[in-house]
C-alpha cells in the first residue's frame, strides 16, 4: 500500500507531474479561449444594440442557439461534426484518407462560442448603461463614430462590464473540465487516469477539485487587482 504522499509526489512513482501537465492544458485552454470569446461577444453585442433590426435579429439568433445548447453537446457537435464534415470533403479527393480533428481547437471553438454568447449579454447591458449623451458629446466635439467608440464609450464600457466578465471567466475555467470527455488531457482526465491506475479515486478527484478551487481563488485575486486598477482611473463626479 503506497502512502498518499508517494502517490502525490513528483516523478515516475507519483502523479503530481501528470496532474501539473493537466493544469497547464486547462489553463492554456481557458486563456486561449478568453480573447476569442471576448472579441466575438463584443461584436455580437454591437450587432444587438444597433438600430438596424436585421443585425439585431442575427445577433439574437446567435445568443439563443448557443445559450440554449448544453456546453457538452456543443462540444460534441463541433468535435464530431468537424470530423464528419472534413472527412466528407477530403473523401472527394482521396477516399482512403482519415481525419483526426484537434481536440484542443475543438474545445477552444466550443467554449469560445458559449463564452461569447454569454459575454454578448454582459456587453449589451453595459452598452445600455451608457447614456446617449456620451455619443452625442463625442459627435459634437467632432469625433467619428469609431473614435467615439474607442475613446469615449469603450473605457466606460469595460468598467461596467468587468464584474460580469469576471464571473464568465470563472465559469469558463470550470467549463474547460468538459474537454476531458473528448480526450484532451486536462486536470480531470489526468486525475481520472491516476484514479483508474491506483484505485484511489476519491483522493485524485478530490485533488482535482481542489486544484480547480485554487485556480478560482487565484483568479479572484487577479480580478480584484484589475478592478482596483480600473477603478482608480474613474473620474470623480
Amino acid at each position: 500500500m503506497q502512502s498518499v504522499w508517494t502517490l502525490l509526489s513528483w516523478g515516475p512513482e507519483g502523479w503530481l507531474d501528470d496532474i501539473a501537465y493537466g493544469v497547464f492544458i486547462t489553463v492554456s485552454l481557458a486563456a486561449a479561449t478568453l480573447p476569442v470569446g471576448l472579441v466575438i461577444g463584443f461584436l455580437v453585442a454591437l450587432a444587438k444594440q444597433s438600430g438596424e433590426p436585421s443585425l439585431r435579429l442575427a445577433g439574437n439568433i446567435y445568443t439563443t442557439i448557443f445559450r440554449g445548447l448544453p456546453e457538452l453537446l456543443t462540444l460534441f457537435i463541433i468535435f464530431y461534426g468537424a470530423q464528419v464534415g472534413i472527412q466528407q470533403i477530403i473523401h472527394l479527393y482521396d477516399p482512403t484518407a482519415s481525419v483526426e480533428v484537434n481536440a484542443f481547437v475543438s474545445g477552444m471553438i466550443a467554449l469560445g462560442v458559449v463564452f461569447s454568447s454569454y459575454a454578448s449579454e454582459v456587453f449589451l447591458s453595459a452598452f445600455r448603461a451608457i447614456p446617449k449623451g456620451q455619443y452625442e458629446g463625442g459627435y459634437s466635439v467632432g469625433l467619428s463614430g469609431w473614435q467615439t467608440m474607442r475613446l469615449v464609450v469603450l473605457p466606460q464600457l469595460i468598467r461596467i462590464a468587468l464584474p460580469g466578465l469576471a464571473n464568465l471567466w470563472l465559469i469558463l475555467l470550470k467549463d474547460t473540465a468538459l474537454v476531458s470527455a473528448i480526450g484532451l488531457t486536462d486536470i480531470l482526465r489526468q486525475a481520472g487516469v491516476a484514479a483508474r491506475v491506483t484505485k484511489h479515486a476519491f483522493l485524485f478527484f478530490g485533488v482535482a477539485a481542489l486544484i480547480y478551487l485554487l485556480l478560482a481563488i487565484i483568479s479572484s485575486f487577479g480580478i480584484n487587482a484589475i478592478e482596483r486598477a480600473v477603478g482608480r482611473q474613474q473620474v470623480q463626479r
Binding site: L72, L178, L188, I217
Partner: protein, 273 residues
Amino acid sequence: MNVAAAKVDRPPALPRGWPRQRVLGYGLVCLWIVFLAGIAAYLVVAWNGELFAKYAPSYVTGLGVTLLLVAISIVLGAILSVPIAYARMSKNRILSGLAYAYVYFFRGTPLLAQTFLVYYGVGSFRPQLEMVGLWGFFREAFNCAIFAFSLNTAAYQAEILRGAIQSVPRGQWEGAASLGLHKLQTMWKIILPQALIVALRPYGNEIILMIKGSAIVAIITVYDLMGITRLTYSRTFDFQSYVWAAIIYLIIVEILRHAVEWIERRITIHLQR
C-alpha cells in the same frame, strides 16, 4: 386647405436606403437562414424511417430521465438550500464560515469534477457505506448523479435565496416587528413574497443551467437524453443523432425561458406603471 399646406403637415418619409449596417445585417440573417435551412435539408436527406422508429422511443425515455433528474435535484437542492442560506446569514462566525466554505467549494469547482468525485470516489468508502447500508444506493450511477447535483444546486440556490432575502429593505422587518409579528410570521408573510419576485429570474436560470448541466451524466453511464444520443451515435455513426438532441434541448430551454418571463410579468403587475 390647399395642397401646399398638406405637404408641409407631413414631410415625405426619408428613403431607407442601404447603409453598410443594413447590408451587413441582411447578409448575416441570410447566412443564418442558409445555415438553418441547411440543417433542415440535412435532416430531410438523412431521414431514415427505420432508424427513427428504432431510436425515437429511447430519445423520449432519455428526455424523461433528464427531466426527472433535474426535477428531483432542484427540489432536494431547494430543501437543502434553506438551512445553508440561514447559516450563511447567521451572526455566528463558525456557522456562517462553514456555510460560506460549502458554497465556495460547490460554486468554485466544475460540476463534472463533483460528479466524478461522488461516482468514482464513493468506491473508496465501500466498507463504511456497506455498514450503514447505503452501498446499494450509491452503486447506481443515477443516484450518484442526483446526490452530486443536489449538493451542487443547493449551493447556488442558497446564494439566490440569501441575495433575495437581503434585497428586501430592513424597514420591512422593523415595520413587521412594530406590528407585533414574530420572526417566522414576518419571514413567511412579508419578506418571502417580496424576495421571491427578485429570486424568480435567478431560479429560472438555475433550472436552465441544471438542464444543460445534466448532459454530463452521460459520461457516467446514465442514459439521459445526452446518453441516448451518444449511444445512438456510437451504434449508427449517424450525425443526425446529435442534431436531434440539440433541437430537443433548445426547445426545452426556450419553453422554460419564456415561461419564467411570463410568470415574472404576471407577478410584477402591481409594480408596473
